[in-house]
Symmetry: C2
């Protein structure tokens, strides 16, 4: 992937990554930054720290997520766990719906234009 495509991908991911975070948190109940990065990697997306951590902070600040610190019982670095707030739970279905509409519009343009 060359530089132009890379920059375009950065734009395409806007909004999309936030939706992905909400999806994973809804399925799992709660999770934390480092684990999310690894799960995204497993899904075929490379999301690095500089992208995810600021994103989680924003989403929390916007009231989409709740958070609390947890220290592993077997010692280890404290982790900041996030879960969906009421607002986040309401937003996610609307987002998925909007995303599907976008896909449908592209499909229409590909066959009918």
């Amino acid at each position: 992937m060359n530089e132009v495509e890379q920059k375009w991908l950065a734009q395409l991911r806007k909004g999309f990554l936030e939706m992905c975070v909400l999806v994973v948190l809804r399925e799992q109940g709660s999770s934390y930054g480092f684990a999310l990065i690894q799960q995204f990697q497993a899904s075929g997306m490379e999301v690095n720290e500089g992208t995810l951590y600021p994103m989680l902070n924003r989403m929390h600040k916007n009231g989409w997520l709740e958070s609390n610190w947890e220290t592993p019982t077997d010692s280890g670095h404290p982790r900041r766990f996030y879960s969906l707030s009421k607002l986040g739970s309401r937003l996610l279905p609307a987002m998925i719906d909007t995303f599907r509409q976008q896909q449908a519009a592209l499909a229409y343009l590909l066959e009918k234009s």
Copy 2:
């Protein structure tokens, strides 16, 4: 659609709309701003002037599009027609491929996370 969802949609569209412009221009050979706005509306997307015209200028400036002015023979306002440049033609398949990968990643997260 409330304000929060509206702002999120504005983010989700980043990159996506550029791909849509390239798709339509590839299918049709060439087109101009006003016609594109109407075609997007037909596909279910509302894209207004303030979004599309600056976008076409940027894409032209980036070398993704070629453009030339045409005055309708039966009189009427001159139109600026755009078509794919070589770079645009090379980019589009890569973009569509990337978009499909994104869809696949979301599908994975929805079922496996």
